[in-house]
Amino acid sequence: MPDTWRITSGCRLLWKSWGGEHVVFNTGSASTHILDDLSAHILRSIEHRPSSIEGLVENLAPDLIPQASRQEIINHLENLLPSLHALALIEPDSK
């Protein structure tokens, strides 16, 4: 797992949100994805600035996963971030 993730180079993300669901358009791949609140929050955080799992957990609003322990959130992000990478939305930050 890379230390830090960033938005895929050359991509710009466009967002629309309706009723707790979010649609994101990747201008680099011209692909469109639907995300839940948590995934959208994580992707927006990385869009704001490259982040590590630790950094993402620190900045996560408590109401997004009210019942989850810190370790459960880390486990979730360890699955989510490779998925976002597979969709070409994020990539390892090599700096």
Binding site: R12, L14, K16, W18, G19, E21, V23, F25, T27, I34
Partner: protein
């Protein structure tokens, strides 16, 4: 002048020489063919469409001709061209009418980027607009044809031209395309519909085209407002079900049906989002045509 005002011999000569520019929805499309039975089909199906002045700029020049090889005579074929270029393989010449319609779908879907071109059927009545989306076999054309001959204005049987503002749809009321078992069904529910006497056997089944009603053609420059999108699903004898689709999910399903969504890129995304804001979206499952017509008429 309407296409039907031109006598048959003059019409065939024009079709085979300069081509005939027709006002079809917002486009002027010049159609050229020397295939006689296709010229007759066009005359029948586009009966009420205006013929434009040949000196005016045509948006698209299309032709359907026999290819310049042995297949001109042996098991004859027909080839669709846009501006002299053939985007498809030729088809059997007896299927020239569906080939022209498929070609026109391709032309509009791949070139009319001033619109979001949605694979769907669209109707309007008293300011209420219905847009039917769904894959093959979903029953779009069947339901669209049935409602067209029950007082709804046909905007399109195949392609919805949505404005980038999301709140208008431009008509392109080309002939209705009816397939297989739906042919007899529509003959029964719309006995006064003008069926092309020529049926075509194609890789998609038996296809027959129906002339669009005069009112749809005379009002083809009148846009319709945003209304309701129905994602159709036909299941024989299934109970009727109407379920609202949340906006974000509707966005993805709509985008899958927009021919030029990817080509338009960010502009397409923004335009599709405006459509989602302006329209309401439902999943509509039906198994009985009469019941479906009754419910949609009361929407």
């Amino acid at each position: 002048m309407k296409l039907s005002d031109i006598p048959q011999p003059a019409l065939e000569k024009l079709f085979s020489t300069s081509g005939i520019p027709l006002q079809i929805g917002p486009f002027i499309i010049s159609i050229k063919t020397s295939i006689r039975h296709l010229a007759e089909s066009i005359r029948f199906l586009y009966h009420d469409f205006d013929v434009e002045d040949a000196t005016r700029f045509a948006d698209y020049h299309v032709s359907v001709e026999r290819p310049a090889n042995l297949r001109r005579w042996i098991r004859p074929q027909a080839l669709f061209c846009l501006d002299g270029h053939a985007p498809f393989f030729p088809m059997a010449a007896h299927a020239a009418a569906p080939l022209l319609e498929w070609g026109l779908n391709w032309v509009v879907g791949n070139h009319a980027h001033q619109y979001l071109v949605v694979h769907s059927a669209v109707l309007e009545r008293n300011g209420k607009t219905l847009l039917f989306a769904g894959g093959p076999g979903a029953g779009k054309s069947t339901l669209c044809s049935a409602l067209t001959f029950q007082g709804w204005r046909l905007l399109s049987d195949e392609l919805a031209l949505l404005s980038h503002d999301g709140d208008r749809v431009a008509p392109i009321p080309r002939p209705l395309s009816i397939k297989d078992a739906s042919i007899e069904l529509i003959r029964r529910v719309a006995p006064h519909a003008m069926f092309n006497p020529v049926q075509s056997v194609t890789h998609e089944g038996i296809i027959v085209h129906v002339r669009p009603p005069v009112e749809a053609v005379t009002r083809q420059m009148e846009d319709a407002p945003a209304g309701v999108v129905l994602f159709l699903k036909f299941q024989i004898d299934s109970p009727l079900e109407l379920r609202e689709v949340p906006k974000a999910r509707a966005f993805l399903r709509l985008a899958q049906n927009i021919h030029n969504y990817t080509v338009l890129g960010a502009a397409g995304f923004e335009a599709a989002a405006r459509v989602v804001e302006s329209w309401r979206f439902y999943e509509f499952t039906y198994g009985n045509l009469d019941e479906a017509k009754r419910v949609l008429s009361s929407l």
